[in-house]
Symmetry: C2
Subunit: 110 residues, 2 copies
Amino acid sequence: MPKNQLKQRVKLTQLKAELFRALSNPVRIRILDELRIEELTVSEIKDRLELELPNISQQLSVLKANNLVCSRKQGVNIYYSCVDTRLFKLLDVAKEIFQAQLSDLQKTLK
Amino acid sequence: MPKNQLKQRVKLTQLKAELFRALSNPVRIRILDELRIEELTVSEIKDRLELELPNISQQLSVLKANNLVCSRKQGVNIYYSCVDTRLFKLLDVAKEIFQAQLSDLQKTLK
DNA sequence: CATATACTTGCATAGTTGCGCAATTGTTGT
DNA sequence: ACAACAATTGCGCAACTATGCAAGTATATG
């Protein structure tokens, strides 16, 4: 493999690792799940997850830094929404993986 | 939503977070990429990634603890392989997400 | 038995993350 | 200008992570 192509590959690996790191927190996953259907303000997210506002805000900033959500100011509120619906595909495949593990386990028990 | 269903959902979220955490390390992603085609021994992985053996070994143990790879002893060697090809789907969707981001950026520049 | 090879484990340490709390900024209405 | 609400920022602490290095275990070979 040529050297510059190798470098690009290393870079891509790094990017993937960062993406997965951004998703490696339960609060951030719950936020994304809430954003599946509609955009929400920070306070709305706080009410649904029942967590402290600074916590939500910080997790949102992590998601934003990783280009997973974007925000829009309207009056006194800031609306957050998901940038790329492919993210939900990631979450859904993750679920599939657990379901497969579980059904393997059930087979083993039989 | 009923309470026990809510609890299950929290649990699933936690599991997802752990899965993504397991994938949030470049070395582990590179290992999985190497295991796409064939099972490999620890030394073979070491040679391909050009990293220290203890490092590889530790990352493999993380992957194993998360049920992402399994191992099989044969003589003096230990062969590792990927448990669920859906993992590669995760990696591929991640790549798609970056490609989409990149093409958005290119559009913006025009 | 001794030695080489293949791998794992333990440990030290530097760096990172999560999260609660207090303080701050920004916006709207009185 | 002031109060009220929305959201962010900074700080500190406990917990966790990555990684290099040394030591240990297990298996095959002379």
